[in-house]
Each structure stands twice: as structure tokens, then as C-alpha cells.
Amino acid sequence: MKIGFIGLGIMGRPMALNLVKGGHAVTVWTRRAESMRPLLDAGASAAASPAALARVVDVAISMVADAPDVEQVMLGEQGVVAAHKPGLVAVDMSTILPAAARDIAARLHAQGVDFLDAPVSGGEIGAIAATLSIMVGGSEAAFAKARPAFDCMGQNIVHVGDRGAGQVAKAANQIVTGVGVLTVAEALNFAAKNGVDPAKVREALLGGFAYSKILENHGQRMLDRNFKPGFKSWMHQKDMNIVMQSAHELGLCLPVSAVTAQMFNAMVGTGLGEEDSIAVLKLLERLSGGED
């Protein structure tokens, strides 16, 4: 299949490479031309614009920072919509507001382009290993068409529902992971301040109902004090903002998410934004009278 890929950052680059490895004809475009180099070396072709890319592919994927970027590459003057192959399916794998995804889907649909929102979970490690969870919203037909591309990038691929449903699932995912990281950090800090070895506490908890992947993986990295990202705090802050904005629009009470969002605000404000979200442990230690 001919696949276009827009946005070759920490996540996008390995995802696009996995499409090349999967035997697809991949065309790429990024704002900074030098970012395309590793893909071109691997056998991908370069396009001069998202529009030029859309002219030659069956599926056009974007993996960018936020909704305005998605709008730009999909609906801008030189965007996918400007000159697309008939039957093109546009897929956005960025994490954006569900309402924004629905809006972009409707505007693309009006121009004859089918759209899927397909955000991912699993981080850089999952992107490299092609083990991402992919949460998809959109039509059955578009999902079927893009499926071979998803299969090259991820493992747990779920067609959640109609337009925006993928982003809703991703927001729900960020609630659980955001609150989860904060909870594990609180538990380990609680143990340490009580003079108990947090490593032993983690080990004990792993066997019971407190078991989770976050306790296992993030908990271990907290014990190792390995705050290298992973998933940067400022990105989790952005995602929690999406959650809280959606809650505001719908009249949803999310008290626990609200606290978590504020903790991420504090991390960004105190210079922890570039560290992994597990650095929330440092924030808790400071608030509890300790030092980094």
C-alpha cells in the first residue's frame, strides 16, 4: 500500500520506519527537511508538501504536536485536502481534543476525504518495537483500509467507535496513566518517609490488587531515580488539559483528574517539564520537606 507520513518526531520517526519495514511504499513530509533524512536512507520518498504527499498515497498519516498542527497539515492551503487522490483515508495519530478531531473529520468529509482519529499509547519504546496500542475512531470502511498500516505499528488495535471515539479513549487512557503515576509516586514516597524501603513495598504490592503496569515499570524507574523521558511531563500536562477541557464542556465532575492536572502544572512551572512524568515523585518529595 502507498502510505504518507507527516511528522517525524520521537514517535513519528520509528512508526514510519516500521511502515517501511513492513514493505509499504512510504512517502514522508516534515516542516524541517533534515528530519526526513533517516526515512529517506531507509527507502522512503520525500514530498514537497502535505498536498503533494496526498496526491500519491492511499492513506495519509499525521503524527504532530497539537490540534492546530493537525488542522494545518490536513486542511491548510498546502494541506492534504488541497490535492488528494480519490478515496484517500486521512489518519491522525496525534493526541488532540475529541471535539477538535470531530471538527476536522467533518471538514475533511465535506471535501470527500474519510478520516480516522487514531491516537496511540505505549511511548517511544512501543513506537520502536511496533507494540503501540492504537485507539481508532471513524468509519468501518476507513478502518479496514488503514488496518494494514496499523498492523505495522502496533499490537492492540481497537476500533472504539465513530469520529472522535479514538481521542475519547486516549483521554481516558491519560486519566488512568496520569492518576496512576501520581498514585504510585505517593505510595513510594509514603513508604520512604515512614522509614520503610520503598523497593520492598513495591515488591509486596506487585502481588496484590495494587498491581499495575505502572507500579511495575514506572515504580521501578522511580526507585532507580531514572527520570529520563519516556513520556515528558509537559506532554502529559497537555493531555490532562484535554481531559479537563472536555469535562468542562460536558459538565463532568473529575475531582481526581483535576488534582493530577494541577500536579502536572506544578511540574511544568518548576522546571520538571522536560523530565519523565515519574518526576512527579520529586515534586511530592519537595512538598513533603525533602530534597531531590
Binding site: H248, L252, N265
Partner: protein
């Protein structure tokens, strides 16, 4: 007629009495409203009704806007037949709505480019304060513009503070909402506790008023809660709207507001139960709703 020619847009619960005070001060006043009927009482009192915001701007030296959202301000300023088409260089626009500080700054930049001054001047004090001309007015913008508007502000409010440059008035208003609605939520919790523990909320309010917990919110909103009078007052949907603004600022700046984050969720819950048009004192009923669920 004396002084500058004035224009006023946004004749709701706040705007109408404010425009009335300006008119009573002897100024020439032009008004515009989406629904003409809204303007009728002022027209009868001597104001001139304009067909469009642009027309109002053409015949005014100083224009006030008092609308609900940033999008509304944008619309009357730069929408079709908007104020922007009629404001002459040297005119002054005073936006007294509550909008995001960043939005106020952007509007000021755009108006400055066409030689028009702007002040952001949101208020606190509610419809009662607007009626009694006792509003607290928080101003952002240039001192020269403020001095030009001072006699007009004096007709609308009692406290006038020049907080800083463009947007600073809106920052102060956001802070005002943090304190005010946070207090309302705290009073609701206190009276909910009082009730559950078998104490008369009105008596508790009275007792607290004399001590360190005394505040205007306790007096006004606590009073409404004790009397179970939840008719607006301040429509809760407006406070809900303001929380999107202030929590957005917190996010943008990386400033944690853990308590406000919780208050925001209580407002969301109030909206969910259809209480947006009630007074914000009905946060008490959100707490009581938890009990009903438990029974």
C-alpha cells in the same frame, strides 16, 4: 449634553443599569442590542438606538462593551458591521466583560494598530453592585486612557484600581473569581456539614460572621443557602465559564491551583444537574446530591 459621546453594547443584567448610570450623568449615549427590545428602557430614558455596532462606533468617542464571552467581544468588535469598522483614530474602547487575559491583549494590539485605545475593565459586585453603582472595577491598559475614562468609571463603581498594562484587569478578575467562588464552595461545605450534624445553617452563618471566617461571601451566599433561595444572583454558568479561563491560564503558565481545580469540578457537577441558571450558592445542592445517591 456634556463631555465625550458614549456608546454601550451589552444591555444584560449588568450592562443595563450601568448604561443607565452613564445616561443619568448627562452624557449622550448610543446603544445597540441584538434584540432591540432590550434597549427599549434606555431609549425611553433618552439613549439613541443604533442599527449596527459600526454605526454606534461612528457616533461615539468612548465605547463600552459588557457581553458574556471573549467570542462575543470579538464578534461585536470585528464581526460584520462591527465596532472596528466605525471606531475613529483617537477613540477609546472599554471592555468590561470577563474574558481571557491573553485575548484582551490581542484585542488591544489589534485596536492600537488602528489608532484606537483599549482598556480591559472587568468588574466584581454582580447585578446588585451594578444597580447601586458600587462595582469594583479592575483596569488594564494605559494610564492616559484610564484618566480619560475615570469620570465615567466613577459613575459605575466605588473601587477603581489600575492594575497594570493590557490584560492586567482580566488577570485581577480571574484572581477575584478564584477567591470568590472558592469561598462559595467552602461556605457550601460548611453549611452542609452543619445541617448533617443537626445545627441550623442560618445560626451557624450568624455565628461565623463574627469571627475569622467572616466574609462577604459568607454573608450573601451563605444567607442564600440558609434561606434556600437559589434563584440568581449570579448565574452559576457564568462562574463556570470564568473557571475555564482561569484554569486555562494556570495550565498555560504551569501554575498549580489544586483547590480551584476541585471547585471547577463542583461547578461541572452543578452544570450537569442543570443548575447553570441558578445562583452559585446551589453548589450546596451538589453536595446534598451526593447524599441522595447514598441513600
Amino acid at each position: 449634553m456634556v463631555g465625550p459621546r458614549l456608546g454601550f453594547i451589552g444591555l444584560g443584567a449588568m450592562g443595563r443599569p450601568m448604561a443607565g448610570h452613564l445616561l443619568a450623568g448627562g452624557y449622550s449615549l448610543a446603544v445597540w442590542a441584538r434584540r432591540q427590545a432590550t434597549a427599549q428602557p434606555l431609549v425611553e430614558a433618552g439613549a439613541t438606538l443604533c442599527a449596527t455596532p459600526a454605526e454606534l462606533a461612528r457616533r461615539s468617542d468612548i465605547v463600552f462593551t459588557m457581553v458574556t464571552t471573549g467570542a462575543d467581544v470579538e464578534q461585536v468588535l470585528f464581526g460584520p458591521e462591527g465596532l472596528g469598522e466605525g471606531l475613529a483614530p483617537g477613540a477609546l474602547l472599554i471592555d468590561m466583560s470577563t474574558i481571557a487575559p491573553g485575548h484582551a491583549r490581542r484585542l488591544a494590539t489589534r485596536l492600537t494598530a488602528q489608532g484606537v485605545d483599549m482598556l480591559d475593565a472587568p468588574v466584581s459586585g454582580g447585578a446588585a453592585g451594578a444597580g447601586a453603582a458600587t462595582l469594583a472595577i479592575m483596569v488594564g491598559g494605559q494610564s492616559t486612557a484610564l484618566e480619560r475614562a475615570r469620570p465615567l468609571f466613577n459613575r459605575l463603581g466605588k473601587t477603581l484600581v489600575h492594575v497594570g498594562d493590557h490584560g492586567a484587569g482580566q488577570v485581577a478578575k480571574a484572581c477575584n473569581q478564584v477567591v470568590m467562588v472558592g469561598f462559595i464552595a467552602a461556605v457550601a461545605e460548611a453549611l452542609h456539614l452543619a445541617q448533617a450534624a443537626g445545627a441550623d445553617p442560618a445560626r451557624v452563618c450568624q455565628a461565623l460572621a463574627g469571627g475569622s471566617a467572616g466574609s462577604r461571601v459568607l454573608e450573601v451566599f451563605g444567607g442564600r443557602m440558609a434561606a434556600r433561595d437559589f434563584t440568581a444572583g449570579v448565574e452559576a454558568r457564568l462562574h463556570h465559564k470564568d473557571y475555564a479561563i482561569l484554569m486555562g491560564e494556570a495550565q498555560r503558565l504551569g501554575v498549580p491551583l489544586p483547590v480551584s481545580g476541585q471547585v471547577w469540578q463542583q461547578l461541572n457537577a452543578l452544570m450537569a444537574k442543570g443548575g447553570g441558571s441558578d445562583d452559585t450558592s446551589s453548589l450546596l445542592r451538589v453536595l446534598e446530591g451526593h447524599d441522595r445517591g447514598a441513600r
